[in-house]
């Protein structure tokens, strides 16, 4: 990495000081871009420092003091990132909040963080903050970015007003802000990120400048990130990943962060920017492929055949070429041709032509999905980490990427497996504490710095980490067979027609599953087979859809039967849910992980029927619409019995 050495006497070890360093070192290079009114607007490092200082000074004039929290809520906008740095300049702590959080969730976080100040992107967020104001009386200053629709509101401040006051203050007293920045220490808390845990109240993870900076630096060096890299930020700012990629690493390595025009335009914006550094959760990678495949099916016969031929070639040799393994000359030449005819244009359409480093993480990624990107020559890798570790615990090294693992230990991180199979880690990124929750801190972090990840896994002979499931979710059937629900669910979810699955089996006689079909993929399949349906509920209940899913469950059972340890955990019975599992109904977390125990409780009658032997069951359940109102879903749900594959037969077939 070609980072200039620190100027002056104070090391650039806090984010405000890193911003000052970048404004000097990279000056007129782009720090942020934002698409607005159809045009990409660029902000240089120098401009960003100027804007941030003005906002910081304005905040200070409003009484923002050291240790104050600034709640930040909205989509990825440059100003919201600058505000984080502004708060840090004054010794304050930014608290980004998930923008799709409902008012009660937001009230808990704002109240728990004891925040007095909040910056909201727009009217939608301001409305929520005003709604919770009664419950969190400490919150007194609300600032907004986008004035649209807020003309008749009283008692709010606009970003511009705050900056105007700030510039006035800086003109009168040009040194006070530098003095404040100078007071910051690298061991100070830099941010509080609330985790959307699968159980209980969110916990506020306090990360220090050292945690984030060192973790970000190590990974940036590992991947060779520099000021010429480009990133598109489109994942929630409250998520640790975005905080590391779009904030900490951008400041550390000096690369450009691009903010999309709106959540709906991400795909177009991705294509226009052509990032070199890219992160996407498996769900998004999968959606991208689905959209490509659907469009491919509408193409002409010649194009379809060309696509099928070259994708077959890519599957065979693409990943080998990427990893530098030997490939025959004929295949190399054919792959070149494929690059001109198929891979190149496809990567361009996906916006991934220039990607040097692409990560996926969060959930297990399907082999078809992962291999699709790698076979096109995209350096797609997995990483493993948590908010508590400042993200990086393990990363796939270049040229040593294996689908079934989450990579090797990241620089300066130590890894060990506890006796119960739980993964423990220790390193510079390990969080300071859970805010105002010493019991939880003590439970998770040992006095000598080891963190209980809560995940069950093992390290193989080559030093790669494998994650099987959440440690607490791994159970056993009544006959003692190992039951790892996520392992089974992931196998199901690898089929494009299955959107979500929840498996049950712990302390039961056999394994059953609740399945959500994918409205796009299954809907498209139904359309192609001339199957009429009026709603998601109707689609999910169609016998043809049941037949389709039965086939896929049977395939999963065959897979499971190959592994003697898992063979007993084949799915015996399943049903298709008439509604999508949804975070608004509390069934998924905000990062879209299933909340198993909540679902078990809510759909108790369905699960009872799965184990009771009925062939159908009546369901009546509540759905929450996007605007927060409630409705009812009611109907009969069919249950299907499955044949299981005997272990011996599966071995023979394999």
């Amino acid at each position: 990495m070609t980072l200039p050495s620190t100027s002056g006497t104070t090391p650039a070890d806090t984010f405000p000081r890193l911003l000052i360093r970048n404004a000097a070192a990279f000056a007129d290079r782009p720090a942020f871009r934002e698409k607005e009114y159809g045009i990409w607007r660029t902000y240089t490092w120098r401009q960003v420092l100027d804007e941030t200082r003005a906002f910081a000074a304005g905040l200070s004039s409003l009484g923002f003091a050291r240790g104050d929290k600034l709640v930040i809520v909205g989509d990825n906008r440059p100003r919201l990132y600058w505000a984080m740095n502004a708060a840090q300049m004054l010794g304050g702590i930014p608290v980004p909040v998930y923008q799709d959080a409902a008012a009660p969730e937001m009230a808990y976080v704002v109240g728990h963080a004891e925040a007095r100040f909040a910056l909201a992107e727009d009217q939608e967020q301001i409305d929520k903050l005003l709604e919770i104001r009664g419950q969190v009386p400490a919150l007194h200053t609300l600032i907004y970015d986008d004035p649209r629709g807020l003309r008749d509101y009283e008692g709010l401040l606009s970003w511009e007003q705050v900056q105007k006051n700030g510039r006035g203050r800086l003109a009168n007293d040009p040194t006070f802000l530098d003095a404040e920045i100078g007071k910051g220490k690298s061991q100070d808390p830099s941010v509080i990120l609330y985790t959307s845990g699968t159980t209980g109240r969110p916990k506020g993870v306090v990360l220090t400048y050292d945690n984030l900076r060192r973790s970000a630096e190590n990974a940036a060096r590992f991947e060779g990130l520099n000021e010429h890299d480009e990133l598109l930020c489109y994942l929630p700012m409250a998520w640790a990943g975005d905080h590391i990629f779009s904030y900490a690493q951008s400041l550390v390595a000096g690369f450009t962060v691009n903010c999309p025009e709106s959540a709906a335009t991400v795909q177009t914006d991705l294509r226009e920017i052509g990032p070199t550094y890219y992160f996407a959760p498996p769900r998004i990678l999968e959606n991208l492929i689905t959209s490509v495949m659907i469009r491919m099916e509408d193409a002409g016969a010649l194009k379809r055949r060309m696509f099928a031929y070259f994708m077959g070639l890519a599957r065979r040799v693409g990943a080998d070429l990427l990893d530098g393994r030997p490939v025959s000359l004929a295949d190399r030449l054919l792959y070149r041709l494929g690059d001109i005819l198929v891979y190149g244009p496809l990567k361009n359409t996906l916006g991934l032509s220039r990607v040097r480093v692409a990560y996926t993480a969060g959930e297990a990624v399907g082999p078809d999905i992962f291999n699709f990107y790698r076979s096109l020559g995209i350096n797609m890798k997995q990483l493993y980490g948590q908010t508590e570790s400042s993200v990086f615990v393990t990363i796939h090294p270049n040229r040593d990427v294996r689908l079934e693992t989450v990579g090797k230990v990241a620089p300066e991180v130590e890894l060990r497996i506890a006796d119960n199979g739980e993964v423990l880690f220790r390193g510079p990124g390990v969080f300071h504490e859970y805010y105002k929750n010493p019991e939880a801190t003590a439970e998770t972090k040992t006095p000598d710095g080891w963190v209980h990840s809560g995940d069950a896994g093992f390290i193989d002979a080559d030093g790669h980490l494998h994650i099987i499931d959440r440690a607490k979710d791994v159970g056993r059937l009544t006959d003692g067979t190992l039951f790892a629900p996520k392992y089974i669910e992931n196998k199901l979810k690898f089929f494009p027609h299955i959107n979500e699955a929840v498996a049950f089996g712990d302390r039961r006689d056999f394994v059953t599953a609740l399945i959500n079909v994918d409205p796009v993929a299954a809907g498209d399949w139904a359309e192609r087979h001339n199957i009429a349906y009026g709603s998601y509920q109707e689609l999910a209940a169609r016998p043809e859809i049941y037949d389709l899913i039965t086939e896929q469950v049977a395939q999963v059972n065959r897979d499971l039967a190959r592994d003697p340890q898992m063979a007993g955990a084949q799915i015996r019975r399943f049903l298709i849910l008439p509604k999508m599992l949804d975070a608004d109904d509390g069934e998924l977390t905000r990062t879209r992980k299933v909340r198993r125990s909540f679902i078990a409780e809510r759909y108790a009658p369905l699960i009872a029927a799965l184990y009771g032997g009925q062939t159908s069951v009546h369901i009546r359940t509540e759905v929450t619409f996007e605007d927060g109102r409630k409705g009812m879903v009611e109907g009969e749900v069919t249950i299907r019995d499955m044949d299981t594959t005997p272990v011996a037969a599966a071995r023979k077939a394999a």
Binding site: Y37, G38, Y153, E261, S262, E626
Partner: protein, 263 residues
């Protein structure tokens, strides 16, 4: 938050004793009402009450046999639609009337047509002042696209869009003309609840941010009562009620018309 009214007291448009008939069918009989500057004025009534005919009279598409229309202080008997457009009246239609094969952006650009000063030839050559002018208009249209949150469909042919979005594009095209008076013919018809809520917010925001006077026809009573400042009620071509939503709601004739008493 409660909606603060932006209505003034100046009358922007007044309709006096309008009667319109097609052969022996009387569409409108002796209708009088006014629209004040900055207000949201709703016209409601059962099917066939003459609501769309009323809008068509206002923007000059129909020519009433009797009565007068005064707009911005000028009284007229007859006006053609393009004259109405030139004087700052824009409208959307009950059945969407967009260019299906053109993109959202191009459709909205057509709304700027009246404001373009350079000639056809210069525009076709995209040269000199025509080019500068197009850039200015594009910037204006981009503000509308941002305002209506339709960035993601900027380049999509309108015919491929779902109904709710087409309605939004149509509103965008009407806004592109920077109208003083915006006529909306059933802007929420056929929409689901979420689309309706979005559209309500856009209508209110247009009124608030641009100060545009809005006259709308709508069937959804909840919507009408929520967003309008004043409501005029038609039934069988006659005016049976006029006033604030609360007044209209309490009017026994209106209740009768909506509950379907025999005439």
């Amino acid at each position: 938050m409660a909606r603060a009214s932006h209505a003034g007291t100046d009358v922007l448009l007044s309709v006096e004793n309008i009667s319109l008939s097609f052969g022996g069918v009387k569409a409108l009989t002796d209708i009088s009402f006014d629209i004040r500057k900055g207000e949201i004025r709703a016209i409601i009534g059962p099917n066939g009450a003459g609501k769309s005919s009323m809008l068509n009279c206002i923007n000059g598409f129909y020519h009433p046999q009797e009565g007068r229309i005064t707009y911005k202080g000028v009284t007229r008997r007859q006006m053609r639609p393009h004259e109405a457009a030139e004087q700052g009246i824009a409208r959307t239609f009950q059945n969407i009337a967009l260019f299906k094969g053109m993109s959202t952006l191009d459709n909205i650009m057509t709304g700027r047509n009246l404001r373009m000063k350079t000639g056809l030839l210069a525009q076709a050559l995209h040269w000199g002042p025509a080019r500068r002018e197009e850039v200015e208009h594009r910037a204006f249209v981009e503000r509308i696209i941002d305002f209506l949150e339709i960035q993601h469909i900027r380049k999509v042919p309108v015919g491929r869009l779902p109904y709710g979005l087409q309605k939004r594009v149509e509103l965008g095209r009407a806004l592109a003309a920077e109208p003083d008076l915006l006529l909306l013919d059933e802007p929420m018809a056929g929409m689901n609840l979420e689309e309706k809520q979005d559209m309500c917010r856009f209508v209110l925001d247009v009124n608030e941010q641009f100060g545009t006077t809005i006259c709308l026809i709508e069937h959804d009573m909840g919507v009408v009562m929520d967003i309008s400042d004043r409501v005029v009620v038609l039934d069988y071509g006659k005016k049976i009620g006029d006033g604030t939503p609360d007044v209209v709601k309490a009017n026994p004739d209106v209740i009768a018309a909506y509950l379907g008493t025999s005439h």
